[in-house]
C-alpha cells in the first residue's frame, strides 16, 4: 500500500476533500489559497464518492463513505484530518431485512442543519436515503421514500441507480429535497414520512413523454443558503432555475455550448451566481472542442460567461462529474473542481482565473470545500 501523508490544518485554513476512484485526499491552504499541501491517500483502492466536513457543535470531523470492491462500503469518520479513522465493526449503513436490497455504494453524506447537530443524511445506491440522529452511530432507512409506489420504476443511469443529492431546506426543518438518477427529484415536507415527485418543467430527453411526473435524470441540484427559494439544476440535457424552492423549473441554457453536464455550484452569498462545466453530448461526455471551460452566471441564468484563464484550451477532453465541484465560503469565494483524468483545479477569485492544484490523481468523483 502507498505511504500516506497527513496534513495539519490551522483555524481559518481552507480544507479540500477530494474523493477518487482509488481513495481520498485532503488538501489545505491558508485563506490566500495560493499554496496547497496534500494528505492521503486514505482508503487506497476504495472508491470514495461521499465526503463531508462537519464543524457543527465544535467538531472538526471528516466523514467519508469508502467503498471497497471486495469488502463493501461503510461510513467512516476522522477527528484528526485523516490521521485515524473509525472502523465500525458492523456495517453502519445497511438495508433492513425484508427490503431485498444490499448496499452497493455511498453517494452522499450530508451533515444536518445547525439546529440538528447530531443529524446526518446519507444517499446511497440502490437509490435510498438513510438518516442518523446520533452523529452517525446508528442509521435508519427512510421508509417513506423507500416504499414510494413510484420507486420500482426508477432506472439506473450510467453511474448506477443512485440517490446523489440531498438538499436540507435552511428555512424549514421538515423540508428535504433529494435527487435520484434516474428517478428525478422528490420532496418531503413532513420530515421524511411522505414524499412526492417534484419535477415540473424538467425534461426527460430519453422518454417518449418529455415532461413526465418523475423519471428525469437529474444530475445535480444546488440551493442558495441566503435565498432558499433559489435553486439551479444541471440535468441530463437541460439547465434550469427555480425561484420557488424547486416546485417549478425554467430553462436557462442561454449561450452555453451544451446544456449537458454534471457539476454545478452556487455562490455562498449571491443567489444569482452559479457555475457549471458543460459537456459535449451524453455520448462523448467531454468538454466541448477540447477546451476546459467553466461557465458562470451572475444574473440567475440570464447569461453565462466562459471562464478559461489558467485552464487548458488544447486537447483538454475532460469530464467533471456531478459531485466534483465545490465552492468555499470566503470572500471572494473559492471554486474547485476535479476531473476524471485526475486533475484538480482551484480559483481564489470566483472562477475568473484558475490554477492547477494537482495532476495525476485517480479519477476524481467528489470535491468538497470547507473553512476550518
Amino acid at each position: 500500500m502507498p505511504e500516506t501523508r497527513h496534513i495539519t490544518p490551522e483555524p481559518g485554513d481552507v480544507l479540500l476533500l477530494v474523493g477518487t476512484m482509488k481513495g481520498a485526499f485532503v488538501l489545505r491552504a491558508d485563506k490566500k489559497r495560493k499554496t496547497w499541501e496534500m494528505g492521503g491517500p486514505y482508503f487506497p483502492g476504495s472508491a470514495v464518492y461521499a465526503l463531508a466536513y462537519d464543524n457543527r457543535a465544535g467538531r472538526q470531523r471528516i466523514w467519508a463513505g469508502p467503498q471497497s470492491m471486495h469488502w463493501g462500503a461503510l461510513v467512516r469518520s476522522s477527528d484528526d484530518f485523516g490521521q485515524s479513522w473509525t472502523n465500525p465493526e458492523e456495517a453502519n449503513v445497511k438495508f433492513p431485512e425484508g427490503t431485498g436490497a444490499a448496499l452497493t455504494r455511498i453517494w452522499q453524506i450530508e451533515p444536518g442543519r445547525e439546529s440538528e447537530a447530531d443529524a446526518l443524511y446519507c444517499g446511497v445506491e440502490p437509490a435510498a436515503l438513510f438518516v442518523s440522529r446520533d452523529a452517525g452511530e446508528t442509521w435508519s432507512l427512510s421508509e417513506g421514500l423507500w416504499n414510494h409506489p413510484q420507486r420500482p420504476r426508477w432506472e439506473p443511469g450510467g453511474g448506477g441507480l443512485c440517490l446523489h443529492t440531498i438538499l436540507l431546506d435552511p428555512a424549514d426543518a421538515n423540508r428535504v429535497r433529494i435527487a435520484v438518477s434516474t428517478g428525478g427529484m422528490y420532496v418531503t415536507e413532513d420530515g421524511g414520512a411522505t414524499w412526492r415527485p417534484s419535477n415540473h418543467g424538467v425534461r426527460a430527453q430519453f422518454l417518449p413523454d418529455k415532461y413526465p411526473e418523475f423519471g428525469q435524470c437529474v444530475h445535480k441540484v444546488v440551493q442558495s443558503e441566503v435565498d432558499p427559494s433559489r435553486m439551479f439544476l444541471q440535468n441530463h440535457w437541460g439547465l434550469y432555475r427555480s425561484d420557488d424552492r424547486g416546485e417549478n423549473w425554467t430553462d436557462i441554457a442561454n449561450g452555453v455550448p451544451s446544456d449537458f453536464g454534471f457539476a454545478m455550484a452556487i455562490h455562498p452569498r449571491d443567489a444569482n451566481s452559479a457555475w457549471i462545466v458543460p459537456l459535449e453530448s451524453d455520448e462523448f461526455r467531454c468538454t466541448p472542442e477540447g477546451k476546459l471551460r467553466v461557465y458562470r452566471t451572475r444574473d440567475a441564468g440570464g447569461s453565462w460567461e466562459a471562464l478559461a484563464d489558467g485552464l487548458p484550451q488544447t486537447n483538454a477532453y475532460e469530464t467533471v462529474l456531478r459531485d466534483a465541484m465545490a465552492v468555499d465560503a470566503l470572500d471572494p469565494a473559492g471554486l474547485y473542481f476535479g476531473t476524471r483524468n485526475g486533475k484538480l483545479f482551484g480559483s481564489a477569485d470566483e472562477g475568473t482565473s484558475w490554477t492547477e492544484l494537482q495532476d495525476g490523481l485517480p479519477p476524481v468523483v467528489a470535491v468538497k470545500a470547507a473553512v476550518v
Binding site: 470492491m69 471486495h70 469488502w71 465493526e89 458492523e90 433492513p96 431485498g100 436490497a101 444490499a102
Partner: protein, 93 residues
C-alpha cells in the same frame, strides 16, 4: 471439530493482525462454519457477506482448495480439520 480460516486484507487488521484463525465447534457446511467465524470475529460478517447473506461478488471462499462457487456455495460440506480460505478475487483496474 476444528477448522482453520486463512484470512487476508483488512480482515487481518480486524483479527489482531493474525493471518489464520482456528475455530472449534460443530459445522456441517460452510454456512455453519461461517457462523462460528462470526462468533469469533463479529466484524468479519458484513465485510464478507451482504445484507442478503450472499457472498460479496468480488470475494471467494475456498474449502480445502476448492472454490465454494463450484461445490455447493454455503451448503458445501466441511470436514474436521478443514482449511477455509477467504480471498479477494482478481478484479479491479
Amino acid at each position: 471439530m476444528s477448522l482453520t480460516f486463512v484470512i487476508s486484507g483488512p480482515l487481518r487488521e480486524l483479527a489482531g493482525n493474525r493471518s489464520e484463525l482456528r475455530v472449534d465447534g460443530t459445522a456441517r457446511s460452510v454456512s455453519d462454519a461461517l457462523s462460528l467465524l462470526w462468533e469469533e470475529c463479529p466484524a468479519f460478517r458484513d465485510r464478507v457477506v451482504t445484507e442478503l447473506n450472499e457472498l460479496r461478488p468480488h470475494l471467494n471462499i475456498f474449502v480445502d482448495g476448492e472454490s465454494i462457487r463450484y461445490s455447493g456455495g454455503f451448503g458445501t460440506p466441511v470436514r474436521d480439520g478443514a482449511e477455509i480460505v477467504i480471498l479477494p478475487a482478481l478484479s479491479g483496474g
